[in-house]
Structure formats: structure tokens, C-alpha cells
């Protein structure tokens, strides 16, 4: 009678591997995105330059199962008629197609925060861009290490 050690050991190994990768390769926020992701972002931008800040992506740093990864995206905003978040675009940089979701928000929500569950085919960055009612763009990204990919297979 002994408990199966496999899952927790796998997590520990993944954590250890992740720690090594992070310490060896500090990745700048401006690290190059894949061409399809950059093209999708460029279509949204229309000449505007996204600023850093205000957008928060909450994702697990390590996802054992890429088929269902919980994601929360929130934006600092008063959500009033005069000043609110209109749209949040989310992309997965290394999925077969980068589109994840487009959220359309209104002041009636009172708070700019949305939860869903996503599929990630492999370890990659998730990128979120918020478009404000005044046309300003804010952007953030977060890396998720995926143990078992979630695209077909």
C-alpha cells in the first residue's frame, strides 16, 4: 500500500526544469512573437502602439494538461460610459492559429474581468491586448509551460 508518486514527481520535475529555464534565459517582454501572432496584432493596432500596463493575465505558470488551462484577463478601468474597456483580444503565440478569444465589454459590467478555459498546444506565451474607449491600447503577455499539449493529437 503505497501512494502513486508519479503526478507529484512530474510536477516537481517540471517545476525544477522551469526554474532552470527561467534563471538561464530571462526573456525580455519584447521578445519576438511568431509571425501569425504579430500579423494579428498589427491588424488590431492600425498604426497605434500598445502601452504596457493596466492589463493582467492570470494563467498557471505550468499547465499539466494543455486541453483546459484556466485563464483570467482583467483590466484596470473605471468602466464608466466615458472611460471603459471596449475589447480584449487574446492570442496564443504558438498554437496552430493564434486567435484565442475576443471579448466585447460594456460599462454595464462594472468591472473589466473575464474568465474562460483555453487550449495550448505547447509551451508558449499568451498575449492580451485591451482596447479602451478612447482608442488607447494596452498589452501584456504571460508564459505557460505545457506538459501535455492540447491541440488534437
Amino acid at each position: 500500500m503505497h501512494a502513486a508518486p508519479t503526478p507529484s514527481r512530474r510536477v516537481m520535475l517540471a517545476l525544477a526544469a522551469g526554474g532552470v529555464a527561467i534563471s538561464l534565459l530571462p526573456r525580455p517582454a519584447s521578445a519576438q512573437l511568431a509571425a501569425p501572432t504579430q500579423a494579428a496584432i498589427d491588424r488590431i493596432r492600425g498604426g497605434r502602439t500598445p502601452q504596457e500596463g493596466r492589463v493582467t493575465l492570470r494563467l498557471p505558470p505550468i499547465a499539466e494538461n494543455g486541453n483546459t488551462v484556466p485563464m483570467t484577463v482583467s483590466v484596470e478601468s473605471p468602466m464608466t460610459a466615458a472611460d471603459h474597456v471596449k475589447t480584449i483580444y487574446v492570442f496564443a503565440d504558438k498554437n496552430p492559429t493564434p486567435d484565442l478569444a475576443t471579448f466585447h465589454l460594456t460599462p454595464a459590467m462594472g468591472r473589466a474581468s473575464v474568465d474562460t478555459r483555453i487550449r495550448l498546444g505547447t509551451t508558449q506565451d499568451v498575449v492580451a491586448i485591451a482596447e479602451m474607449s478612447d482608442g488607447n491600447l494596452f498589452m501584456t503577455r504571460a508564459e505557460v509551460k505545457v506538459t501535455i499539449g492540447g491541440c488534437g493529437g
Binding site: N67, T68, V69, M79, A92, N95, P96, T97, D99, L100, A101, T102, F103, H104, L105, T106, A108, M109, G110, R111, S113, V114, D115, T116, R117, I118, R119, L120, G150, C151, G152, G153
Partner: protein, 110 residues
Amino acid sequence: MAAPIGQPRVRIPAQARAGEVIDIRTLISHIMETGQRRDQAGAIIPRDIIKRFEAKFEGQLVFAMDLAPAISANPYIAFPFKVEKAGSFEFTWTNDAGEERKATNDIKLA
């Protein structure tokens, strides 16, 4: 040939105080076939997803989401809502074939 859109489940408080921001959580049963997978004969299994979710309060659009194949099967979508008055919510899920599934919930003022 689209997969059936399953029973929607919505968790929303039955009542709230005016000015309170509540959380609305929704779940719908659906395969969310990506169009990337192949069957045993090697043929691509055609894409079949819920592509749009809308939440309306008293007929006014409050929140909407365009979904991609990278949204997990049985899509879970949660969002806030600032309660100002009693009224009725209508939630609509639409698949690639244009078929819809709706759910309605009333909210009262506490």
C-alpha cells in the same frame, strides 16, 4: 452535421443590491472540434465550435465573446455585471452552423 449544443448552465445570484457587482458563470456542453484533428482514416475532422456567446440584460448587450477553436471543450465563460435594477438576462450560444441555444435568468433587487 454539427454536434448538438448541450444544456447550458448559468450560475447567477437570484437577487443583489443596487450597485453591487455580481459574477455570472456560464458553462455549455459542446465538443469544440478544432478542425486540426484527423480521424482513423487520416481525414481532417471538420471544425465545429461555439463561435459566439452573448449576454443581454433587458435586451441590451452587456457582454459578448468571439470564441476560437482554442477555447476548451464545454466552454466556461464568466464575467461581472453591475446590478442597477431588477430584470431579465438572456444568454445565447451560437455554433459554426448558426444554430443557437438560449438560457434566461431573472435577477431581483434585494
